[in-house]
C-alpha cells in the first residue's frame, strides 16, 4: 500500500514516487472516479477493514449491507467488535431499513453498489441523502459495477472500494484493491493500511495499469453479453428467476448508472438438483477474459447456515455468473443446452417415478 498524496500522514508508508507503477495506478483509478487520490491495497478485505477502522472510533457503530459475505463478514462481526465497534447488518437496498438502524453512535454506512450474488442495486442517491442528513459517512464497495458503470462519489459517497479481481484487472493476474474518495479521509485510511501491512508488487501494479486503460471497452462488451444471456435465461422453462437489474426495475438508476456490468444470477427450478452440467456449460475453459460461474451456497456463502442463507435469498439452485468479454452467444447456446438436458433428466426422472 502506498499513499499517493503529499497530505498523507507521516505514520503511513512512504509515498510512492510519481513514476512508480503503484502511483500511476492510483492516479488512474482516482481519475476514473473523478477523485484526486487513491490507495492501492493488497486485498479488498484489508482495504475495507482499514477504511472502516479509519472512519470509526472505538464505541462507534457501522451499518453494513446484509449481503456482505465472508471473509469480510467475519472481520466485521469479530475483529471490529474486538476493537470496540458494533455492526448492524441491514438490507442496504432499502433506504428506510438503513435509516431505522441509525443510532447516536452510528458513524458509517457500508454497502455494495450492487449486491452479489442477488444483484440488487443499492439506491446510492437516497442512501447518500440519509447519510448526509444524519452526519454519517457512506462507504461503497463498487466492485460489482466498476467506475465504468457507476461513480459513487458523484452520488454522495465519501469512500469507494473496489476489488481488482472482477473488472479492474481484466486478465485476472492481480489480487489487490483500490480505495478512493475525499482527500480528507485517505490519509487516515493509509495509516490503517500501513498497520495491516503488505504491499502490492510493482509488476502487479504495472499489469493493473495496463488493464485499466481497457476497462470501458471490456465493460461495454460484458454488459451487452450479460443482457443477452439474461434474455435467454428469462425465456427458459428450467429457470425460475433471473437476478439482473434493469433500468425498468430501477428507473432512479438512470441518473447515476451507465449500466449494471457483466454479472447476473439465476435460479433453476427446485426440481433440478444436479447443477454440474450447468456450471460446466458456463466454463470457458478458464480463459482469462472468459465467463465464470459458481454456486454461492457452496462458495461465497457456504459459511452461513441454511436458515440464514434462505433469509438472504441464497438458495441451493442459485447460480452466479460473470459473463466474459467474448463469447456471450456461445455461452448462451451452451447454457441453453445444459438447462434443456437438466430439464429432460428431471422429466425423465419424474416419469420413472
Amino acid at each position: 500500500m502506498r499513499a499517493s498524496t503529499p497530505t498523507t500522514g507521516a505514520a503511513t508508508a512512504s509515498p510512492a514516487p510519481a513514476h512508480a507503477p503503484a502511483r500511476r495506478v492510483e492516479d488512474a483509478f482516482a481519475a476514473l472516479h473523478g477523485a484526486d487520490t487513491a490507495l492501492l491495497v493488497p486485498g479488498v478485505v484489508a482495504a475495507t477493514t482499514a477504511t472502516l477502522r479509519a472512519l470509526t472510533n472505538p464505541g462507534g457503530h457501522i451499518i453494513a449491507s446484509d449481503q456482505t459475505a465472508d471473509p469480510l463478514r467475519g472481520v466485521l462481526t469479530q475483529e471490529l467488535a474486538g476493537l470496540g465497534r458494533t455492526v448492524t447488518f441491514v438490507d442496504s437496498t432499502d433506504a428506510d431499513a438503513v435509516l431505522t438502524a441509525v443510532r447516536p453512535e452510528t458513524q458509517v454506512v457500508y454497502t455494495q453498489s450492487l449486491s452479489d450474488p442477488l444483484m440488487r442495486p443499492a439506491p446510492l442517491n437516497e442512501l447518500a441523502i440519509h447519510a448526509q442528513m444524519n452526519d454519517l459517512l457512506l462507504v461503497v464497495d463498487n466492485t460489482a459495477l466498476s467506475p465504468a458503470e457507476l461513480r459513487p462519489l458523484e452520488t454522495g459517497a465519501v469512500i469507494v472500494i473496489e476489488d481488482t479481481a472482477l473488472y479492474l484487472d481484466g486478465w485476472g493476474d492481480v489480487g489487490a484493491a483500490l480505495v478512493t474518495g475525499l482527500d480528507r479521509y485517505l490519509p487516515r485510511i493509509a495509516e490503517q493500511c500501513a498497520r495491516l501491512g503488505g504491499e502490492v508488487p510493482d509488476w502487479s501494479a504495472h499489469l493493473l495499469e495496463r488493464s485499466l486503460s481497457t476497462l470501458q471497452l471490456r465493460l461495454t462488451a460484458q454488459r451487452d453479453g450479460a443482457e443477452r444471456v439474461a434474455s435467454m435465461l428469462r425465456a427458459h422453462p428450467a429457470v425460475r428467476a433471473v437476478h439482473r437489474p434493469s433500468f425498468d426495475e430501477a428507473p432512479w438508476a438512470l441518473e447515476t448508472h451507465r449500466g449494471f456490468g457483466g454479472l447476473l444470477a439465476f435460479e433453476v427450478v427446485p426440481e433440478i438438483h444436479d447443477l454440474t452440467g450447468v456450471l460446466a456449460a458456463c466454463d470457458d475453459g478458464h480463459t482469462p477474459l472468459g465467463s465464470t460461474a459458481r454456486l454461492p451456497a457452496r462458495t461465497s456463502h457456504a459459511h452461513l447456515s441454511e436458515r440464514v442463507r434462505r433469509e438472504l435469498g441464497i438458495t441451493r439452485q442459485l447460480v452466479r455468473l460473470a459473463v466474459g468479454v467474448t463469447g456471450a452467444d456461445a455461452l448462451s447456446g451452451r447454457l441453453r443446452r445444459a438447462l434443456d438436458t437438466a430439464l429432460a433428466q428431471r422429466n425423465g426422472g419424474d416419469e420413472r417415478c
Partner: protein, 350 residues
C-alpha cells in the same frame, strides 16, 4: 511526524475548515448519572464534527465534591482539562518549530478565597533542547489557542434547563470578581504529564486520569478529551447539587446532560474565531420529571450560586502562567505587555 503531532494533517484540517466553516463546528456532550452515595458516572456521548460523527464510549467517575477518594471531583476534572489542553497547544507549537522536548509537564492550580471566588494559574515545565524564545512562543500559543485556557479566562454564559412537566429555563450570566488581592483559603493542584501527541497522564489529589483527543482531531482515542473533562465537571457538579442519590435497582435516577460547542477555526486555523468552549448547556432530568415542584430549579439556582467548577468556567479569570525551562524559571511576558507579539500571530496554525 514529530512528538506524535501530525502537522500536515493539522494543516489539512485548517485548510478544509477555512473553506467550509460548517465543517469546523464540534459539538460535545456528556451525561452523568448517580453511581453511589457520593459519586456519579459520566459517559461521553458521540460528538458531531462538521458533517460527521465521532463516537467514543468513555466513562469518567466523578465525585460530587472534594475529599479523599479514588476519582476526580469537578474542580479536579477542570484542572486536568486545563493541563491537557495547554500541553496540546504547547507541544503542537514546539513540533512546528522542530523542537522535541524530553519532558513537558503542566501544573494547573486553582485557589479559592473565603467567598468562593477562584483564581487560576499554571506552570509549564519543559526539559530538553528547547530554546527559551521558542518556549515563550509555545506559552503564547497556549494562551491564544488553548481551548481550556480561553474558556476559563473568558466569561461564559451558562444555560440550564430543568426538564419537568414544564421545562424551566435558567441562565447564569458571568460575574466579574476581583480576587487578586484576597487571601486564598483553599488550593487545588494537579500535575499533567505529556506522553505523546495529544495523550497526557494526569494526577490530581492522588487520583490518576488520562486524556486524549479523538483520531479525527489527531489523537489516538485513548481517553476522554480535555473538553469532555470540562463538561464532565459541570455535569457532575450540577448533579451533586440537584439529586446525588443513587437510585435503587429498577427505579429511575436523575441525570444531567452537559453539552458545548467549539469552532475549530479558533484553535486550529488562522481564522479569527472564538477559541473556547461555547454554547454551554446543562440539562437536568429529575428522577421524577412529572413533579412540577420547585426543588429541581432551586437546586440548579444553588449550583449557580455555589458551584466551584461552575464559577470557574462561567466567570472570567485572568490566568497566571509560569514557565520553567530545564529547572530554571523563565520570565513570560504578560499578555497585556506582549500585545505586539500577540497581534502579529494571534491564531497562527502550526
Amino acid at each position: 511526524m514529530l512528538n506524535g503531532v501530525d502537522l500536515r494533517a493539522r494543516e489539512s484540517l485548517a485548510e478544509q475548515i477555512g473553506e467550509d466553516s460548517w465543517e469546523a463546528q464540534l459539538s460535545i456532550g456528556v451525561a452523568a448519572q448517580p453511581a453511589a452515595a457520593d459519586r456519579c458516572r459520566v459517559r461521553t456521548e458521540p460528538m458531531r464534527l462538521g458533517s460527521t460523527r465521532v463516537a467514543r464510549a468513555f466513562g469518567i467517575d466523578q465525585r460530587f465534591g472534594p475529599g479523599a477518594a479514588d476519582c476526580l471531583d469537578p474542580v479536579g476534572s477542570l484542572l486536568v482539562a486545563l493541563g491537557a489542553s495547554v500541553a496540546d497547544s504547547v507541544v503542537t507549537e514546539l513540533s512546528a518549530a522542530g523542537c522535541a522536548p524530553a519532558l513537558l509537564e503542566v501544573l494547573p492550580c486553582a485557589e479559592f478565597t473565603a467567598d468562593g471566588t477562584g483564581r487560576l494559574s499554571y506552570e509549564i515545565r519543559l526539559d530538553g533542547e528547547v530554546p527559551a524564545e521558542q518556549a515563550r512562543r509555545a506559552v503564547a500559543a497556549a494562551r491564544a489557542r488553548g481551548t481550556a485556557h480561553r474558556t476559563l479566562e473568558e466569561p461564559n454564559d451558562i444555560k440550564a434547563v430543568v426538564q419537568t412537566a414544564q421545562d424551566v429555563h435558567l441562565a447564569s450570566p458571568p460575574a466579574d470578581h476581583d480576587s487578586a488581592d484576597r487571601t486564598a483559603v483553599r488550593r487545588r493542584t494537579a500535575r499533567v504529564m505529556w506522553e505523546i501527541g495529544t495523550h497526557v497522564l494526569a494526577e490530581a489529589d492522588g487520583v490518576h486520569a488520562e486524556s486524549d483527543q479523538p483520531k479525527q482531531l489527531f489523537g489516538a482515542d485513548l481517553a476522554p478529551s480535555a473538553q469532555e473533562y470540562f463538561l464532565a465537571a459541570l455535569a457532575a457538579e450540577a448533579l451533586g447539587f440537584a439529586d446525588p442519590r443513587a437510585a435503587a435497582p429498577g427505579e429511575p435516577a436523575a441525570s444531567v446532560h452537559a453539552s458545548g460547542r467549539i469552532d475549530l477555526r479558533g484553535p486550529y486555523s488562522t481564522q479569527d474565531a472564538p477559541v473556547g468552549l461555547r454554547n454551554i448547556l446543562v440539562q437536568l432530568l429529575p428522577a421524577d420529571p412529572t413533579r412540577a415542584d420547585e426543588a429541581a430549579p432551586d437546586a440548579v439556582r444553588r449550583w449557580f450560586a455555589e458551584g466551584d467548577a461552575l464559577r470557574l468556567v462561567r466567570d472570567p479569570h485572568p490566568i497566571e502562567v509560569r514557565l520553567v525551562l530545564d529547572g530554571t524559571p523563565v520570565p513570560v511576558p504578560h499578555p497585556e505587555n506582549d500585545r505586539t507579539t500577540d497581534t502579529k500571530e494571534p491564531h497562527r496554525a502550526p
